[in-house]
């Protein structure tokens, strides 16, 4: 049985639909991420699971039990808030002890468990510090320890890494993964940062305008986006308008702004329909004549170069008006703006997406 089951949850604020018929199943022990742009409904869904919002329609089941009518304090679900929401008048120790005190645990047990938790998040020396005297990363770790101390069935994390600087964020990402693995507690993580979602999650649900666009493992939502929105939202992708000329079980032949492209097969694509050809920059190679052995290769001109240190991002304008992005490690040859180049990719990469 799934740990958490969301069945057809709908929530409207006036005429605005924050969630529209959302159904999701989250398994025990999973690191599950709700990903989407702001206003997509991910936070509403999180607040529903925590018990701060009621669905207008639909059900939320935890361990098969309907959560309707159960107030937040009675749910075995804890939240790490975006702003951490640490209690300013309590020390780090008392903040972490709070859920245990509410659970009326004996004093000795509280002391032992909180000390252990402080050790787990490397804050033993900060036990008596107040939140205002802790750094952002330390506050974050106190909030995490507080959310986990009572061993909830489910820990909800609301954009909780967003406030940290880039380096600390990567550190915390690794700590989160380790912690989750170690405790085996199910995490539901909300973020709008696709790189974070890809790095952390076992599975990702991509939300847009209150609807689930796609659910899957990071490699499948990145590699096989179901539609234009998902393709565009996760990672970089070049898109060219395309018309299907031929659809077989081995390949698609597309006509895209004057180019003939061979793409992987798609059963639902019918000859004559219009859509989009999309390809990730790291799948595109850039060079000169040596690319002519590739089935898809086209001449073009470098339009722009973004130097990123380890890699460079090239934008190449092709004859016919399409433009394609390519990502190249800065190990060998580099190209400059206005260079005449050739771009190419294998016939089994890239994808055709319905309009």
């Amino acid at each position: 049985m799934a740990l958490l089951e969301i069945r057809n949850a709908t929530r409207r604020f006036g005429r605005f639909a924050a969630l529209e018929d959302v159904s999701l199943t989250i398994e025990s022990g999973e690191f599950f991420t709700l990903l989407g742009p702001s206003g997509c409904g991910k936070t509403t869904l999180l607040r529903m699971i925590a018990g701060f919002e009621k669905p207008d329609a639909g059900q939320i089941l935890l361990d098969g039990r309907d959560l309707a009518g159960i107030p937040p304090e009675k749910r075995p679900v804890h939240t790490v808030f975006q702003s951490y929401a640490l209690f300013p008048h309590m020390t780090a120790f008392d903040n972490i002890a709070f859920p245990l005190k509410m659970g009326k645990r004996p004093e000795r047990e509280i002391r032992e468990r909180v000390s252990r938790a402080l050790g787990d998040v490397h804050l033993l020396d900060k036990a008596d510090a107040y939140p205002k005297d802790l750094s952002g990363g330390e506050q974050q770790r106190v909030a995490l320890a507080r959310g986990l101390i009572n061993r909830p069935r489910l820990l909800l994390l609301d954009e909780c890494l967003a406030a940290l600087d880039a380096k600390l964020r990567v550190e915390m990402q690794i700590e989160l993964i380790d912690l989750q693995k170690e405790l085996g507690i199910t995490f539901v993580f909300v973020t709008h940062a696709q790189d974070e979602a890809l790095a952390l999650s076992h599975r990702i649900a991509i939300l847009n305008h209150g609807r689930v666009e796609q659910v899957g493992e990071p490699s499948s939502v990145y590699g096989f986006p179901k539609n234009r929105f998902v393709a565009d939202f996760i990672g970089h992708i070049s898109q060219v308008e395309a018309c299907v000329k031929e659809s077989t079980h081995t390949h698609l032949r597309l006509e895209a702004q004057g180019l003939e492209i061979i793409a992987p097969p798609l059963k639902s694509a019918a000859a004559g329909e219009k859509g989009i050809f999309a390809i990730r920059p790291e799948q595109v190679r850039i060079g000169h004549d040596e690319l002519s052995e590739l089935r898809n290769h086209f001449a073009g001109t470098v339009v722009s170069v973004l130097y990123r240190g380890d890699v460079s991002e090239y934008k190449v304008g092709l004859e016919g008006g399409a433009s394609i992005e390519a990502l190249l490690p800065n190990t060998g040859r580099a190209f400059c703006v206005n260079d005449k180049v050739c771009v190419g990719w294998r016939h089994d990469v890239g994808m055709y997406l319905h309009e």
Partner: protein, 253 residues
Amino acid sequence: MHRLWAASVFLFLYLPLVVVVVYSFNDSRLNAEWVGFTLGWYRELLRDGDMLKAAGNSLAVAFISSLISTLLGTMAGIAIQRYRLRFLNFLVMAPVAMPEILVGVSLLLFYIQLMDMSLGMLTVVLAHVAFSVGFVAVVVRVSVASLDERLFEAARDLGASPFEVFRRITFPLILPGIIAGFLMAFTLSIDDFVITFFTAGVGFQTLPLRIYSMIKISVTPEVNAVSTLLMMLTLFLTLVAMRLAPDALKGKA
């Protein structure tokens, strides 16, 4: 030039107060010229039975009325902020803006004609509660507003019932505001004249009423002495209140 203006404004504000304080130590029955230093007027004050009784009444009224208005004002302040009750806000705040003379007269009519009450300490206490509840509510509302609402949600989320949230989160965090509200109510009550005048009746006297009845005859240095003490008390309470709830009293509401 504008410094001169500012100086003269402050002079106008504070010079009379300074004169009262200085002449309370003057060894002369007349407030005319400085004769010499004495604590005699303060000694006389301590022997003045009527004056001490009035002071006792004032302290009792101030203490009881500000306790009640703190309780009610705190509840109102929290409710207004948490549930965005604009109408309650208006109801609580209106008496603050009302002219005191109007409040005094209408309370008098209310007590005598509608309730058939005899005037005395009870009617004064009720009147003081009525005008100070609004002040407490404002101060408390501002301290509730300064809290991150996520704190309440976080506490619920971590297993606290609504009552526990109030006891362990809301109350400790707004306590400085509540104390500041209490001190304000106390200060307002102890030196109130107009409303007290209308609601006290003949048998009951507070310190401001007593001082007023004394200066009807003449301004003796004893009045200066008692005024100085009253000034010290209210100044002290105001300073404590400002320390406790700086935002509320600096008008950042």
